[in-house]
Amino acid sequence: MPKQLTRLIILFAILTGGLVSARHFLLPKTFGELGHYRAAAVTTIAARPIHYAGRDACSTCHADIFEIHARNKHQTVACEVCHGPAAAHVESPTDVELPKPNKRALCPMCHRYDPSRPTGFPQIDPQTHNPVKPCITCHNPHQPEPPHVPGECSACHGEIARTKAVSRHAGLDCTVCHATPVKHKVTPREVHPEKPRTRVFCASCHAKAAKSSAEIPRIDVDTHGGRYLCWQCHYPHQPEGA
């Protein structure tokens, strides 16, 4: 064999050997097992921790709420949409508490009027729809149907019903203020419902000493308004004014 050929063969052998050993040491172990990638990467990615537990996880402990929720309009809204990722809470229910978003900020994320939202999706204007009050005052998020004026009243007094529905007095039944005789339904023009005749009636919630919810605005009944009845200045179906 010519000398130069031997040298060439040796050179090629070294190169091939070097290449093979380099490939052996440099190529990751699982590379090429499933394709042109490291098969171990799939396992790494699959082993990442989860944060959202899924709604089935909630039903085990909160069966009562789960059942109400499943029968009402928000049934398609998973628990974790409002309460946030719950996997940590499922792991240790006493140590990790989930937020109860009872502020006014969350609901308009879905329900603020936006022309881009699909037609028919319930939307409100947060500026005019019962402003300032948190949504949960009237709407239980697990059962979001708001309190509504019964058809017996709204059939004739529709405008008042609609005004009251977005006012601060939305939660009050008509009969709280208007004692209505049964005959009013038969002969509405002859038998009238009552209206509050004294300032004491409104004061039962709005007086400084009244035993009512802390968020209700208070006045000093003795000095405020003088000789007038409350509803002569404050329209009770829209008390905060237009």
Binding site: P28, I45, P115, S116
Partner: protein, 274 residues
């Protein structure tokens, strides 16, 4: 096997069979069959020991990627643009909170005669500012976007080191330990679904929440979508919600002319959506 067992069950007093099979053959054959009739099922059980373990311990079976082919359906007419999907995605996958890193996001389209406005402030997480004027709007709607998990993904083609790949169940993933952060895939993706993670300095993208899929859960965005605008499932499995969505709706994919064969299917998609 069955035939032999029946023969074995014949009364041993039968001299005829004994003669036919030789004198000592009868006993050894019986022994052979007695041993093997127990041993063979035992061996088969041992081979399926994983399955046996599941029966007794109630653990979930090992995930088999070959049995699945994942895709997502998006019902554009149901999206209310609340951005909960983008928010959940960031929470679930620890995506940086800066308003330009998204694995999924919601776009708002406002189409007026001769003009199409598209915006996605913070991916839709904080809601959308009111449109300037409602007058003159022809059509307006929200479109959720994410990685299309293409059947022929251009991002995988261009990766110089093999750090991004399609799994056996049809999900396009990034190997974060192997990615060199060259950004070639970010350039190659026609849907803008990739970004370079500022913490790891590697390519990052939607994984269809692969870590949830292997546990039998749905992706986080699908889990939290309040109006059912995202439908997830197995393309091959006829009973999956996605397969039903594919049968019942008129579907489009994004940029079909690029032949990437996306596996995110949009129903009622407007022609303006790219």
């Amino acid at each position: 096997m069955n035939g032999e067992t029946t023969r074995h069950d014949q009364p041993p007093t039968s001299a005829k069979s004994g003669q036919m099979w030789g004198t000592s053959g009868s006993t050894s054959r019986r022994q052979f069959l007695r041993t093997w009739s127990l041993a063979v099922p035992a061996m088969l059980l041992a081979l399926r020991s994983k399955a046996v373990a599941i029966w007794f311990t109630g653990e979930t079976p090992n995930y088999n990627a070959k049995e699945h082919r994942y895709g997502m359906g998006i019902d554009v007419d149901k999206c209310i643009g609340c951005g909960r999907c983008a928010e959940a995605c960031k929470n679930e996958n620890d995506v940086p909170r800066e308003p330009f890193y998204f694995r999924t996001w919601v776009e708002r389209y406002v189409i007026t005669p001769g003009d199409t406005l598209v915006d996605s402030p913070n991916g839709g997480i904080d809601g959308f500012p009111p449109t300037t004027s409602e007058k003159g709007i022809l059509r307006t709607f929200f479109v959720p976007k994410l990685c299309n998990h293409c059947e022929d993904p251009p991002c995988v083609q261009v990766c110089p080191v093999g750090a991004t790949f399609s799994t056996e169940d049809g999900v396009v993933l990034v190997d974060q330990d192997y990615c060199v952060g060259c950004r070639y895939c970010v350039q190659a993706c026609p849907y803008g679904a990739r970004f370079v993670n500022p913490k790891t300095h590697t390519a990052d993208k939607c994984t269809f929440c692969y870590h949830r899929l292997v546990k039998g859960l749905q992706p986080a965005c699908v889990e939290v979508c309040p109006n059912g605008a995202r439908i997830f499932g197995d393309i091959r499995q006829r009973s999956s919600p996605l397969a039903r969505f594919q049968r019942m709706r008129k579907l489009h994919t994004l940029k079909p002319h690029l032949n990437t064969k996306p596996k995110v299917y949009y129903a009622d998609l407007d022609e303006e959506v790219r």
